[in-house]
Symmetry: D3
């Protein structure tokens, strides 16, 4: 029934390839089906002004799509002169989600910027960015710990995300683009490795939804995130 032939609760094939660029402190290419996102974590000396001198660290994120990551070419945001509303919304979500898994005291007064650049898009880019972004962050923090710059691990728990939605009246896991563009309800679920919730965003897109349906989507998300966290752990092992 799904365009891809997947089961309702079946994820796309996911792979996480680490250390894909030589410059970044941490990096990976995450592929969720045909959605490919390059995630890098950059360690930076400067922290934002509002925490200068506080001893606390900061994790932030930026998001972008290559102009031809999509089926028709999008205008390059650098050319347009500003990041669009959707981009801003997504990068704020990625940053907020990753910070929820970080002990900022243990990180110390340093900043890690996670860049998530979509090389090829087929739905679910924000979730792939969070899941891959955490891997890049983990690798960068590992480097800091190995070097002895940090003693206590500032990463409390892995963070991963998956989208679920109601497609053709059925709750389905990990929407691809053909599903996403038709889904009546669309949700993004960000969880930690211990099953705690970090962020939930559900939107009616044509159809509204009930609390029962919320529960069904949450069940799917639990399953999906569980699988993603296993893949993250394998990737950074």
């Amino acid at each position: 029934m799904r365009p891809s032939g997947r089961e309702l609760n079946e994820m796309r094939a996911v792979s996480i390839e680490t250390d894909v660029t030589k410059h970044a402190e941490g990096s990976c290419m995450i592929r969720m089906g045909d959605t490919h996102v390059l995630c890098t974590a950059s360690l930076e000396a400067r922290v934002p002004p509002f925490i200068k001198g506080s001893g606390l660290g900061w994790v932030t994120a930026e998001y972008g799509m290559l102009p031809r990551s999509t089926s028709t070419r999008m205008r390059r945001e650098a050319q347009a002169g500003k990041q669009g509303g959707r981009t801003v919304e997504i990068q704020r979500l990625i940053g907020r989600s990753l910070r929820a898994g970080v002990d900022r005291v243990a990180l110390g007064e340093r900043q890690i910027t996670v860049d998530c650049d979509v090389i090829q898009a087929d739905g679910g880019t924000r979730c792939a960015s969070i899941t891959g972004g955490w891997v890049a962050l983990r690798l960068a923090v590992n480097k800091l710990m190995k070097a002895g710059d940090i003693v206590t691990d500032p990463l409390i728990s892995p963070v991963a995300a998956v989208s679920c939605g109601i497609y053709a009246g059925q709750p389905v896991l990990d929407l691809d683009y053909p599903e996403d563009s038709e889904a009546g309800v669309d949700g993004n679920f960000i969880l930690r490795g211990d099953g705690q919730l970090i962020e939930v965003q559900m939107s009616a897109e044509g159809a509204t939804f009930s609390r029962d349906q919320m529960g069904q989507l949450m069940d799917l998300a639990d399953k999906g995130v569980g699988e993603l966290i296993a893949l993250q752990q394998a990737a950074v092992a």
Copy 2:
């Protein structure tokens, strides 16, 4: 236990004053405690390019805060040369939420822009904007129907929103600013008059949350939105 002395499930005093500006097709000033938002609905001939000729209507929203609506003065966004990420995120949410209550075929090829300008802020401005924005929209649509420009009512159901969160370990309804700035979990719930969900956004802010807690916040939101919808109905009667 709450700074305001309210019960855990008690809303702030809410009032909705209609027809507050002489130019707009629909308008109201909504006051949720010390949060005051001026909402206007403007009927416009032009529709966005992507629906030109489709026969469908469009409802969109813009959001702004007066520079001194907050306890310390904020930089004016027109001065800064762009709308900040938070503004963009909020106005997209308002527009999406209001559209979920609109039959765009019945509206016909016209656009209604709902402007939500925060005169005074004390937490919950995006929820007040949605609730007040719907009242402005209702009044503007009434005018269209009275004039015979529209035959079928395009407003399917009222739309209202409330924030809930976990403050000092307890689920509380309708966060004010002192609570919002301390809450470990913060959620915005947008519902229709028939109890269906339109949008749910829950974020960990320091603390994560469980599915049980999600349910408790949803219960509070149900109660709060019920009260708001009664007030909306009274206001537009």
Copy 3:
């Protein structure tokens, strides 16, 4: 003969409501007929770089119109990405006018920003902004003096403004929008409480004008500003 039925030298009904927002150090809503402007005065620690260390204070102003303060919706300047030429011109005028009534030595090295936001427009918004802006400024300075932060009153004299013009061949006081859009000559007169002039701006808009007519408009302005200053004094008493 005037669209409103007013005498040639008759002002619109004017009211000044003070302390209308809980956050600002000084605030008022000034209503000149259907023109309503919210004025707030914000005390700020920072002064502009060019007076840092000089011991002198600074008073500046910003001006904005809500998108639907006008009869057809205007584009939001924050959305457009810049303040328009008219906005820039008006806010420079407001700041310059208010500064002309301030002893910057007595104010000391602090800045007061006066925000004038037009809630509803019906002509004469810049004059209403100056007159209401001075009230907000007065209230903020009162607070500083009460707290003992300032010893000598830095406000030399009240500052108020009124527009006059030649409408249908006759000099008239306090143009409303229907008059303003038809007037052949349009002037803004900013005076101090002692009758001294601070700024005069007269523009031909279709018709030119003679020195005699300048005198007639000045006479009207004297009368109008006298009334406004009495209202300011009553408001801040």
Copy 4:
């Protein structure tokens, strides 16, 4: 008593050199003492959208200063990414003033853009721009008339401008930069050849002013503009 040794009612040496660039339909270099402004008038096919199809013409102006026209280098506005408030204010004044001398019906549906670029600044650049701008406009219109594109002369009367102010307590004509930066009161007077007023702008800069002083400055302006108009006529003869 004046830094330059001039009489109180004495203008600086003024010259107007015409046809200084080969491309523009009309052009001149106006020199008022050490203030040198290059003025060009460009005939353009397009008119602004708000008059399309009206049969009316449009005259507009733009103003700029070369970065090193001033005693210390100013930031290039194209580099800064926007025109400053002062620039916007000035170019709106120039356009408005020139239009006051134009019969837009006789001009027909075409636009003339007058560019005023300050090559060297020593006070009074906006007045020099208006006076020189009118010469460029006159020359461009002459070309149109010679070509038979226009039958009735659309230029009703010459337009010229001069600044006057109160310097060291005395009313003086045509302020140069050392006077301008010290003047307590500063005014710009734009008149037509028939002595009618087009625009008057007087500002207190430290000192306020009385109606008597307004009259004295007006007297000086009458004298100065009379001289300028004679020079304009000679230049375009």
Copy 5:
């Protein structure tokens, strides 16, 4: 003697992987040593306004670097709100170079946009972009020809580019980043498959250069471009 141990006239290992994204009409990843650039060619219906209706086609290019393609993180241009001078210069060069190999009549009134996004940088990104960009362009044109949309091949000859410079006093081929940052003279040579020159840019960076040295660099470039064109041909075969 070269940091990499290469011979003076030895290129880095070069590979060109085609069809790397599923959406673009043509694409490749070109790797010149550690410089990796993703090139996509997008066929677009619209042509720039200046050739509308001319029957001529257009090829243009855009260039970007991922924020962490470099050894320290660069600011994202979309965030900064504009493309930097270097970016603009490079993308103009790529577009100009590719157009020099295109018969715009044969292409017909359609536009192909070549996006060159640097995934990892180690010197020579503009040359890699041109060489890889031509491959993407070739593949996109092949698709058009296969579909019968174009009859005559609009690609006259392959286009490839290489950098040469004077490093440690010696002319060397294909500078990598350690060489580029130290080179006294730096040149980019763009040639066609028939040996004709399209663009030559040589810059003194510390040292100047003689005509003899120009000749030596040209010799190296001939050799390098010859090798690149062989690789292009193999890639698109």
Copy 6:
């Protein structure tokens, strides 16, 4: 054969008038035929952040065209909100070229900004800017040396530039606009007084070129720059 009737290897009439503005530390108006560029050199205390504290000086350039320097009016870049790609490319070239003639140690930690503003354009504005810019720079440095602020002359050698191209199949020196817009190959050659090359840029514009043709253009450039340097020397003597 050339539109102007010049010989193939004949420059336009060139003049360099120095000290044309009273404010700049160095200035000239360079006229190459109908191309007129005003060049000023401004001494500034601040150096760019990346050399603060290094003891090294900096020379940079900015370029602009007056809106009606061209045959049809161009949009003012300050109005457009950004410098176009061509402007950015040119000003980077001017700065780079001038720096190649400067001993930055001898200059000491100060910045000289060379502004090149095109008053009238007829082809070759970038070359005229470099040639005239060097004269302005020379005069500013002379002032510093006379004042004893600099002991060793930081100007190693004069820098001048000329364009050459292939027009109607023939190599010609110093293209004017009619030639430039038709030329199949267009080159800019920047040399020092000792004959050393600083920058060479050759572009195919329709026709490609061979190494032989490169040599012919270089020969013309040698001749032209020799003449320009003699004029520079005369001007600053």
